[in-house]
C-alpha cells in the first residue's frame, strides 16, 4: 500500500513546499509511490489519515504548539523540512532582540493584537524523526529522502562540512578569493551551490557535528570582520543553534 503523506507549514515563506512541488513535477514517478492526502498550498482535498508528515516552518506562537503536537500524534514519521523547521531559520534572528521592541517596531501600539513568541525549530516542540536541511531544501535531497522512507529507513544527511563538496565541485575557496564563508562549519548536502554562484556559505543547512566555532571566528577576524559582523553572519541561520550551544533556550 502506498504510504499516506501530508504536508504542513508553520511560520515560513513556503519556498520549501514550492521546491517540493517542483521536485514532484520533475519526478512525477514519486506520485506513483506515495499518496498525498493533505497539501493545502496545492490541493483542496484533505484527510487527517496519514503516516508521514513533512512540516515546513518554525513554531513562533504558543497556539501553534498544539497543532504541531496533533501532527506528531497522528504521524508515524515526522520530517522537518527546511531551515525554519530544522533550525528556527531566519525567523530566529529576532530571538537576539527584546521581543517587545520587535513587536512594537512592526505593529506600533497594536503590538498585542497579534500573538507571537521567540521562534524555535520543530524539535523544540516535538520529537522530529529526520530533517531535510536548507533554505530552501535541495530538490534532489528531498527526492532521496522520499526514496529512503519508501525503503523503510530514515533519510540520511551528510555529517561532514560543506568544504568537502566545494572541493569536489572544483570551486576556488572563497577565502582565497578574498571573501568569507561558513563552509568549514556548515553541514554539506547542497553541492556548495552558494560558493558555486560566487557567494560565501551562510550556514542555512545548520552546523556540522562538533563545529570548531573558535577557529571560524578567527578566520573571519583575519579577513577583517568585526565581532559584530561575525555575530551577524553566524546569526543569519544559526541563531538558535549557537544560542543553544551557549545554554540559552527561549521560554
Amino acid at each position: 500500500m502506498k504510504p499516506k503523506v501530508a504536508f504542513f507549514e508553520f511560520t515560513s515563506c513556503e519556498g520549501c513546499q514550492l521546491t517540493v512541488l517542483d521536485t514532484l513535477q520533475r519526478h512525477p514517478e514519486l506520485l506513483e509511490v506515495i499518496e498525498i492526502v493533505q497539501f493545502r498550498e496545492a490541493m483542496t482535498e484533505r484527510s487527517d489519515d496519514y503516516q508521514i508528515a513533512f512540516i515546513e516552518g518554525s513554531c513562533t506562537r504558543p497556539s501553534d504548539e498544539e497543532k504541531i503536537r496533533e501532527i506528531r500524534t497522528q504521524a508515524q514519521i515526522v520530517i522537518a523540512v527546511g531551515a525554519c523547521a530544522h533550525l528556527g531559520g531566519i525567523n530566529a534572528i529576532r530571538n537576539r532582540m527584546p521581543l517587545d521592541d520587535v513587536r512594537e517596531y512592526v505593529y506600533g501600539d497594536k503590538k498585542d493584537w497579534f500573538e507571537t513568541y521567540p521562534a524555535r525549530p520543530l524539535s523544540a516542540v516535538i520529537k522530529v524523526d529526520a530533517v531535510i536541511p536548507g533554505c530552501p531544501i535541495d530538490r534532489d535531497e528531498f527526492a532521496m529522502a522520499v526514496t529512503h522512507l519508501l525503503q523503510g529507513r530514515m533519510p540520511a544527511i551528510p555529517d561532514y562540512p560543506l568544504c568537502i563538496e566545494c572541493k569536489l565541485t572544483e570551486n576556488v575557496c572563497m577565502f582565497l578569493r578574498g571573501q568569507t564563508c561558513l563552509g568549514p562549519i556548515t553541514r554539506a548536502g547542497c553541492d556548495a551551490i552558494c560558493p558555486s554562484c560566487g557567494q560565501g556559505c551562510e550556514g542555512c543547512r545548520g552546523l556540522v557535528p562538533s563545529p570548531n566555532l573558535g577557529s571560524i571566528k578567527e578566520a573571519l577576524r583575519e579577513r577583517g570582520m568585526t565581532e559584530e559582523q561575525i555575530d551577524a553572519r553566524l546569526s543569519l541561520f544559526l541563531t538558535y543553534q549557537t544560542m543553544q550551544m551557549d545554554g540559552v533556550t527561549p521560554a
Binding site: 511560520t11 515563506c13 519556498g15 514550492l18 512541488l21 534572528i93 513587536r103 517596531y105
Partner: protein, 428 residues
Amino acid sequence: MSTLKVDVHHVTRVEGHGNIVVDVENGELTQCDLQIVETPRFFEAILRGRAYDEASHITSRICGICAVGHATASLRATEQALGVTPSLQTTLLRKLNFHGEILDSHVLHIYMLVAPDYLGLGSVIPLAKSAPDLVLRALRMKQLAGDLCATLCGRHTHPISMTVGGFTQFPKPADLRALRERLVASRADCDATIQLLQGLEFPAFERDTEYVALHRDDEYCFIDGSIASSDGGIRPLADYREVTNETIVPHSSAKHARHQRESYLVGALARFNINYDRLHPRAQAAAEALGLRPKTINPYLNAAAQAVEVVHCTEDAILLIDQLLEHGIRHEEPAAPTRMSGEGVGAADVPRGTLFHHYKIEDGTIVGANCIIPTGQNLANIELDMRALVPGILDRTQQEITLALEMLVRAYDPCISCSTHMLDVKFV
C-alpha cells in the same frame, strides 16, 4: 438564502493562511472578512543592525514565490540609499531574471491554483491522468522559467548571485542561446495557454476600483519607474506612503491600504489596465483573443491578464537575450557604493503587484526598514469585492457561494505569508 454562514478555515491553493468569514442574517450582510491568520514575521525589525549587503538575502526569504522580486526591490532600495548606479548589463540581467519569476509564478497560478476550480477539481493532480498534455505544458513552462532564473541567479527560491551593484556570477553566451531557443519554442505553449483561458467560463462579476501599478513611458514596467493610478496621477517612488496609507485592522496580521478610493487593486490586472499600450504586440494580440481590453474591471480576469503577461515576458525575454548577446557578457565587479549612509526606496511590480522596500542606512548598517507587500495592498479591495459579490448570489447554494468566494480570493493570487509583516515605521 436569507441566512448564510460561510467559514472557510485556511483557504486552499493560496500562499499562506487566510480564512473567509461571511455572515448573512435575514438577507442582510453583517460580516464579510478575509481574515489573515498568518503568524507575524517581523522582517523589518530583524533587518535593523544588519550590514547593507545582507538585506536582499534576508528579504528574499519573505516569500518563496516572489523571492527574486523581493531581492530586486531590496537591492534597488539599497542602491538608491548608497548612490550605486548599476551597469547596463546588470539592468538587462535583472530584467531577464525578473521575467523568469513572473513566468514561473503566473504559470503556477493559472495552471495549478486557478484552473482546477474551472475544471471542477480540487487540485491539478488528477489532470496528470485526464489531461496530460495540459499538465506537461505547465511543467515545461515552469521548468523553463526556473531554468532561466537558475542560469542568472543560481536558483529562483532563493536567489544567490544577485548582489548590491550587480551579480556574482554570469551566464555563458551558450546558456543564453539555449534559453532563447526554448523561449522561442515556448510560443506554442503561450498560444495554448491563451486557448485554455478562452475556454474557461469566468464569473460575470464586475466592480470598478482604483488600479495602481509602476509605470514607465518606454516599457511595460516591472522594475523602478513611477507609481501610476487609473484614477489619474503619477507619483515618484519616494512618495509611496501617500499611495499606500497603511492601516492596521484587528482581523488581519497584514495591514490594509487605501489611496484615492476606499481600496485599490495591484497586480497583473492593474498593470494591464495602466500599461496596456506598452505590451509587446504579441501580448496585445493575446489580449484581443481573450476579449480583454483596458480597463477591465472583473477581478476574476486577473488570471487572463497574467496569461497576457506570460506572452509579454516570453517575448521580452527573447529581446533581452538578444541585447545581452549583442553586447557580449562581461564578468563585471558589482558597482560600488558612493556613500555609506543614506535613505532609499526601491520598487518592483512583482507577480502579485507593486512591492516597495524602503531602507535607512548609516555607516553601512541598516537602521530602519519598511516593506509594503502587494497582497496587503489588495486585502481591502478583496473584501469590498466580497461584499459586492455576496448579495447578488444569495439565491445559490451555500456550496456555490463558498466556491465563488474562494475563487475570488484565489483570483488575486494572494501571497499571505509575504504580507504579514508590513508596517509604517517613522524613521527617526
